[in-house]
Symmetry: C2
Subunit: 443 residues, 2 copies
């Protein structure tokens, strides 16, 4: 497990978090009560607010703090039992407060998807960052090279899958007279899928171009993203396994031609669904010293549908996961009001596309509470979100549903990434929905 | 046309806009170049930045200022030729800078979808606001009643479609000792659709409850939202016409029982697709003095697909629109880079679900430019976005497409609302993509 001094710049981090704690919330921020001015983010937890008491307006997004603790523990133990380290994908939450927690838990690095996200991680003192994408564009390349030049403590990796891409980065590094190479991971990709070289030959050509562009770039490993496979679960697992073998083949080709820069070869893949397969397959690369980096972004908050199902499957198939007690649980909820029940079998909630993602599945009504009456929540059965508009959810309900106008309903999420990005402010709550703090996201 | 003194509180507005101009941008905000600190929003237009010269990182969102001017003129002339006023739906852009422009153009009010949005409009000095939704929840009701109590210049309307909703608002107004009624618009809704009373009988029961809850609430008019009709265009138009007749029937029932409070009766409907039908049908209510309020939120920026098609249809069917020269054009574009072309027929762009909406249609590749070579853009034919991930667009391209890694591609949008909410900062550009300013959104 890396020490925090390797992954966090203490001075930068302290400054950025002090600034963040001092962020002045007011009622222009979604979720903040009307009339509030100049409330420090760091003071939200001291207001004595409770969600069920209607102390904050809805819709509101909450993270259950005890569940974050649980998920954090589970992943730490899973990693201890596996041969992998984690560079959690920061794009899921884009919350430096959660990055800090992940790094304190021992994360090897933070992964980001864009240079905009990299800028945020850097501002908060993250020293080791994987940009799990190709680095393109004048501003983006200039920023990265500038950061590498200014800060010897900044350790950076990005992906390469084309000759043009390698040439462009090498040319800019050369022009800037950069004193160390830009670290590249060679990306393999599935036919018909996203980025990444489609064949071992294409990958080898890019790897040779990287060697030929020394000392401005250096090949540090091989990478892929297996998360986009479709179909029934067994077929997906087979496809992921085959893809890992393809990536290992690329790594073996590069090793054979001695195309890797000195040091351990990084092998990295892993969304939030198949990281056990990634860790297992990459564990037998047979190419000398390797570092296995998984990148799950969703484990910390988990969800109530898609990743819940993936996780149940993972627990069933992974011997390593089988050694870890407990399991991941859903931490993220969106709370709403019943705004109308215009037909006995249909009601409308005060949250829509602007408040939650539905790219994986529709949100799931989990519990309800009646303001002024309930201090705890009651599970909901048979209530189903059938349509989302920008600001509304249409829910099909049993005719005998007790819900009426003004009742509160908690929605669970499928695929947390596209709900996090709907909120700048997310409340932290305890089991009784006391608001104990808040996180800020940067999207 | 109302004067601005009726719709904007000059002092509040000046203070809020001064604060907004002074918003300090830095590289934690998406679209801001890495390394930028402390850049005033009001100074963005003085940087001499040009998008095609890669002075800002991509993805970036831009609004074409000359197109906003065009659309603003078109709608002003359409309204002059019709019998309606507009309360543009602020939820589309949630940009007080654009609200200000709409009010300066003569908008009767600003419409909002949530009390969170209302808080923002109030902060920026908007005096007349339609909350085109039911007002529910302790914080939301308390905020509205507080604003009504504190500011005699605040003119507020919200929707009612249930007895519980009316009772709750009336009870809170009474408890607060509010000196004037909360203005309600009675909402009619289509069976199987969103909010609103489904029958004239149900609507009449709510209207009577409003009368019986005087003086705490007052019935000011009738409202509906016709934008959710589905099916072939002719069927939709018929359904919208029938729905307008349903709403007029509700208004006639209420007029017959003298349930409206004194003053003109407000008749309001109108998303951005059928507002001509709304204005025409409501023009013949036969219930005495009326005020016809349409609420299009999308006319100012228009789009490149869904509303473009609706508008072509509107121009064909509306005699009033036929008198207005020109037409609405698309102002909003998302600029991206080609990050990878892993197969001859497929490329991957640096923008995804986090950067643009796809609830109506996938984004549309409009033009491209090659950095360092092109000072203008070239239209793209035969390029089609086939999939979006959180941070990527997958584009199917002709094998002979000239696009290569590092090229810039502009995406047009279908349904602007769900793209606006992906950006806090949107650049204003001229025809040559010089950045002449920027707007901030509040989501």
């Amino acid at each position: 497990m890396p020490s925090e001094t390797q992954t966090i710049d203490a001075a930068r981090s302290a400054k950025a978090f002090a600034e963040l704690d001092d962020w002045r919330l007011d009622d222009r921020v979604k979720g903040v009560p009307g009339g509030v001015r100049d409330l420090r983010l760091g003071d939200v937890g001291h207001k004595g607010w409770n969600l069920l008491r209607e102390d904050v307006p809805l819709p509101a997004a909450v993270l259950k703090a005890p569940v974050l603790d649980n998920n954090s523990r589970w992943m730490t133990q899973f990693l201890e039992a596996s041969h992998a380290v984690i560079a959690p994908h920061g794009k899921t939450t884009m919350s430096p407060q959660l990055f800090q927690r992940q790094l304190a838990d021992g994360a090897w690095a933070i992964t980001v998807a864009t240079v905009g996200q990299l800028q945020i991680a850097r501002r908060f003192g993250v020293k080791r960052i994987v940009l799990a994408n190709q680095l393109v564009g004048r501003q983006a390349i200039a920023y990265v090279i500038g950061e590498l030049a200014q800060d010897p403590g900044f350790e950076f990796y990005t992906l390469a899958d084309s000759l043009e891409g390698v040439a462009r980065i090498a040319a800019e590094a050369k022009r800037a007279g950069l004193k160390r190479p830009v670290n590249l991971l060679l990306e393999g990709g599935m036919m018909g899928s996203r980025t990444g070289c489609r064949t071992r030959e294409a990958a080898l050509a890019v790897a040779r171009a990287i060697r030929d562009s020394a000392p401005w770039v250096a090949l540090r490993g091989v990478e892929g993203f297996e998360g986009l496979v479709q179909g029934p679960m067994e077929e997906r697992e087979k496809a992921v396994t085959a893809f890992m073998e393809f990536l290992l083949g690329i790594a073996q080709d590069c090793a054979k031609e001695k195309l890797f820069a000195p040091g351990p070869v990084i092998l990295s893949a892993g969304g939030s669904a198949f990281y056990d397969i990634v860790a297992e397959k990459f564990g037998s690369a047979g190419i000398g010293e390797t570092l296995l980096v998984i990148r799950s972004g969703c484990y910390l908050t988990q969800d109530s549908a898609s990743y819940r199902n993936f996780f149940a499957r993972l627990q069933g198939r992974s011997a390593v996961a089988g050694k870890v007690a407990g399991g991941l649980q859903a931490a993220l909820e969106i709370w709403t009001y019943v705004q109308s029940r215009p037909e006995p079998g249909r009601l409308i909630l005060t949250a829509g596309r602007r408040d939650l993602g539905s790219d994986a599945d529709m949100p799931i009504p989990l519990y309800w509470a009646r303001p002024g009456r309930d201090k705890s929540v009651t599970p909901l059965e048979g209530h189903k979100v059938v349509e989302l508009n920008d600001q509304h959810a249409h829910v099909s309900v049993p005719v005998e549903s007790p819900l009426q106008v003004g009742d509160m309903v908690a929605l669970g999420i499928s695929h947390p990434c596209t709900t996090f990005d709907k909120w700048q402010l997310i409340y932290l709550v305890d089991d009784a929905y006391n608001i104990t703090g808040a996180i800020r996201t940067f999207f």
